[in-house]
Symmetry: D3
Subunit: 268 residues, 6 copies
């Protein structure tokens, strides 16, 4: 009755993909230091500073033991509309068509040390990317991928070695289901966290925490010290120490810790 | 320990709200004609044309019997981040602050006949707007509101008389929960439908259907005829007519319908 | 690349729709008596008899005040598969095609007093039927429709006056989404209740309760008496009676009830 | 094989129902004043004071137009365990057994003006109470019921006239499904709001908001004024007033409001 | 009060389990070839051919690294009804009773190379089978099990070595919760995929994809070639090749691939 | 505008945490014997005895291969309320404040062999405890932790070696989200199972099953024998035995088993 290839195309289709400014990456030295801060410490500190939604609930760690810290490039999916698709790459077949979307574009913006974050509305039937693009991602120096949705080709991706945090896996490809790759390096909603390109993610076995770019120094200032006294407390607790004295440090515990710290510094 | 008012502000906060181009509204004459087409007919036609995601599942009709048809202005929420909020209107208290967001801006773009569509991620704890803004909306000639989330002040809104389609109601205000008004007149995800400003919505007791602006003539062309033969069939069925003959029209039914239609035109 | 019309068709497509035996309807006199028993009483009695899953959670009453009691004819949807569809009515267009499915067949089996129950897996995007079929249903004497999913054309269906219990409404038609009308008068899963054609449903403002055909006499035997003493208790409680005496009846309350009942019979 | 009536009974069963202290009700004069404050104003004020979880998401208003304000008595369900049930009222049949639970006890603690709040874990298959108990509740002067779950006998309850806020309706009775009435007048989790007996609820068409007993004066102090300037703003907006001036009041709008207020007082 | 063993039994109980025709298995040679095609390739190809619902979302791979391909035998659960159960094997105790259901029957139809697929409505509290039946399954040559629900005895099943795809695990047995084994080798709804006995499943670390029996040759024809050029592209990308040239192959990339392929064939 | 530190405090805050009586632990000899009974056997037996809700659906095993059996101490979270928090430890900073809650208290009640069970309403954003408290837990001899919610610090907790069953992981700390540690050693709702302190849990790769303290002897009596004949049947089935003879044991199978058992005893 109808021929979907001849659908009238909305003007915006001709401007796709939407591509935001390349993000300014934070000082690599700060990123290096941040590796010593855990997701738990970072999340707690930002909460106390008044920033409450930093944990990206949903994407689970898929590579046991992996931890990555780095600046974020973003990819945004939007709901699929066939009249829009008809205008993205007129004359191309469906397989070549994806090349003209945000999906291919975002990978070309990746720089060494980057983390790719994807807004996919938690969808469980869209495979946002597969082993080919992730192979390419690794080649460009990307260090981790966080998807509020799924990827495909998990058996092969696992072998590539790039850590991923996802809601799951599916054999479906990126525009086989209800979504469409839409924009690159724009602010995204990753689960219920606002992610701005250039922000920093800490991702480990507890999940993924976002640190706004400008808050990295604040988190470092308080986080490094926090993780140091936790190391002290952990040692004491494993030797049978009193939980009320050592966690968190009571005044008495703090004094003991200061002494321990001083001794350690003197030793070095 | 910390003072959230002194959070370092990301650069983008200074550019908020993001405001897209005012949408081009379709020819009002076409909108008028479209009022004769039901959501069911429109949704079915577009599906046959190859556009599958046009029904906005989630927002329910809250004003029994209401039906509206009109072009769409859009409001987009994003996840709340306190460091962003700190930069929206520095020095303003929280209550005045909302005025500086997309929430106030969008209402000032409303023209007579417009429908306001809101991306709120289906959230059940954010009251995207209340009776004050809806009073103002009505004053500007707006005819209906579709929210993929909730509004507040329902007891008063009901009395204003502006039809709304929402997921529910809540007493919470727009930035009391996990979201933040972010952008105006940009493409949005309303449930799993992509809505571009200037597209047309048909909203009635079955829910809300999106018609891409350029597809309005197509839907009219096929939809008006469709609704006419359905009127004929309905009459026959209520008189005990055979379902296989009259719905949809078999060849025999079609002939009878053509005769009935001709007779009707001749009569006029 | 491919032409879906030429998909190889599985053999079963040629045998669709699957049509079970016409159900034996229970004695209409029993159905008449059952009208005096409420859903709450029936559900409670069957639970005490050991049958636990009789309340069909999900479909809500859409016609305020309506109550229907009657034997059930069933319609079963299954997941949509385009290769199956291609074989249902080869050569027919999509609109005529539905006519060859279980959807049209089931309505032709309806007899006066019947309730139509539909297995639709709770789907919120499939409109299992619309006003045309329901007009026809009413014409055949059907008295109510229970759908574990949605229907469409609600604004018109409301005016037909046939009570419906559904999960919601949608403008989509029956095979526009992920389901396909599959079988008629076979046992179905309506929410988590097993419904066998010829079983009896009691549907009111609390929802829908299934009574297995052979259990109708048991429910009547205990239910009619139950509802009579509740009438007595309700009167006493509204006059300030003691809850422990009157609900449920204590020994003392029971004696008082027996006297009241006797007086009432004597009066007649 | 086994006889469930002879299950070994845990000691705690003998102490059921758990009954907390009768709550101290707030000064009725304060309750009276609070009626002038809407749920939206109360929720917003408490949020600004730092108390974030006061809206009880889930229970919907079932009586159009109803609004109640009053102190709370609480009923807590817990998961059902047959060995516990066996010990609640040994020797009683199942129907009499409920009388020995928290369900009957809580109604006997109701005083005029009270609201009953029920923790039922959002369960959709347990009818926490029916028309008999609600008839009794009304007789004792109770004014409203808020259930994080369902009630049964809705067709009759609607006629009693006591406003209810529930997740839904079901014909099942209170211990027919997976829950058991457990405790009376203890702190409860009503959706994700902590409700302490004697706290105050404001319930209207937007839903239910909790006001901690000791915060009532604070809410009154700020809320009454808030609702007064909103009345002024609403009038201005409906006459075409500027949204930025009148909502919320800008400095200029505030001056105008103060003048309007003074004039009104002088008039009286 | 009542004795559930004496419930009146519906006639259908005497005909249970429902047993469909033994499926015709596809040519084993085709199955062998299909092992070279991945779930992602198969799912993408069928989508392009117009068959959209082939990925069985829900059941996750539980045996890392496992991949199986084979024809399907099916088991269908339905909601539990005690009056039906009472008629399945009158006089048998509950434990022996399961033997008379579809659960035992289906395992006796298994042939070497078969995959067992189970419709269990995604239920998380029913353990559809345990280590005993799976031991027997392996003994008959079954190669994999896909359950839209759970199994039990996971610690032992893991040691058996038969790969399973499930929604989860539970200690409950097959009719301990809300379901009942109902039919064998009938078409089933496995998540939202229609599975006809004799269809073929490809199951790997991405999940499970259904290939209709008659579509196997089509999938082979296009899939084998697809996987060959992907192998070529993967190699190029891992050496730093250009994504737009190699994935998917541009005209230039295709030429290079053809040369590579020819060289490879010549070599052999 | 407001200072949340000066919120008026409800009286109950001064009595927090609520601490129940230390549970009486069952005879350690019985616990030892119970280790031979699997979760599947225990769950099935209790179901046949009439106790239906013993499987704690939700928390998944996180330590592959782990199995623990022991008496339960309980921790109950309730929804967070800032006015309550303000009264828990007036004058303390937020970090020290948690020390004054039920979270610290419960760990001090742990005895060797105990399992800690936590009611956290299935919340996915609250990290109920982290590596410090679990280090302390292990030091006190605790053997396993079951949380109807999440914990944090998973990468470190995994190394501690204490088996945990949780819904997931999060970097958030215990009162960072919507909950508050409330009570110790009171009856709790763990998923939809009622857990009384001193009850026994069996937790393995299938999940967690609750055995009421007084039912331990009953479960032992029937469970040990059950597991013995299953061992016999498993051996027969793996040698190709007939499923109907060996599982469950038919009369013939039982005779064979009795002989096998006797032979085994004689051998020892």
């Amino acid at each position: 009755m109808f021929d979907s290839l001849n659908l009238p195309v909305p003007a915006i289709a001709g401007t796709l993909p939407i591509v935001g400014q390349a993000p300014e990456r934070p000082d690599p030295h700060l990123i290096d230091q941040l590796k010593a801060v855990g997701t738990a410490t970072a999340s707690a500190l930002m909460h106390r500073m008044g920033v409450r939604q930093t944990f990206i609930e949903g994407p689970l760690p898929r590579m046991p033991g992996a931890k990555v810290v780095g600046p974020v490039v973003t990819l945004q999916f939007m709901p699929r509309r066939e009249d829009v698709i008809a205008g993205i790459a007129p004359g191309e077949g469906e397989e070549q068509l994806e090349k003209s979307t945000a999906l291919w574009s975002v990978f070309e913006t990746v720089q060494p040390g980057d983390i790719l974050a994807v807004q996919a509305f938690g969808d469980l039937k869209t495979g946002c990317m597969g082993d080919m693009l992730i192979t390419f991602f690794k080649g460009r120096g990307g260090i981790g991928i966080v998807v509020d949705g799924c990827i495909r080709d998990w058996p092969r991706v696992k072998n590539i070695g790039t850590p991923v945090w996802t809601r799951g896996f599916t054999p479906n490809y990126a525009s086989q289901s209800t979504l469409l790759p839409w924009a690159v390096n724009v602010p995204i909603a990753c689960s219920d966290v606002l992610v701005i390109p250039g922000d920093v993610m800490i991702a480990d076995g507890d999940g993924v925490v976002l640190v706004p770019a400008k808050m990295v120094p604040l988190v470092l200032e308080h986080g490094l010290d926090h993780d140091e006294w936790e190391e002290f407390s952990r040692a004491r607790l494993s030797e049978g120490g009193n939980i009320r004295k050592y966690y968190p440090l009571s005044e008495e515990g703090m004094a003991e810790y200061e002494a321990w710290k001083k001794a350690r510094v003197d030793q070095d």
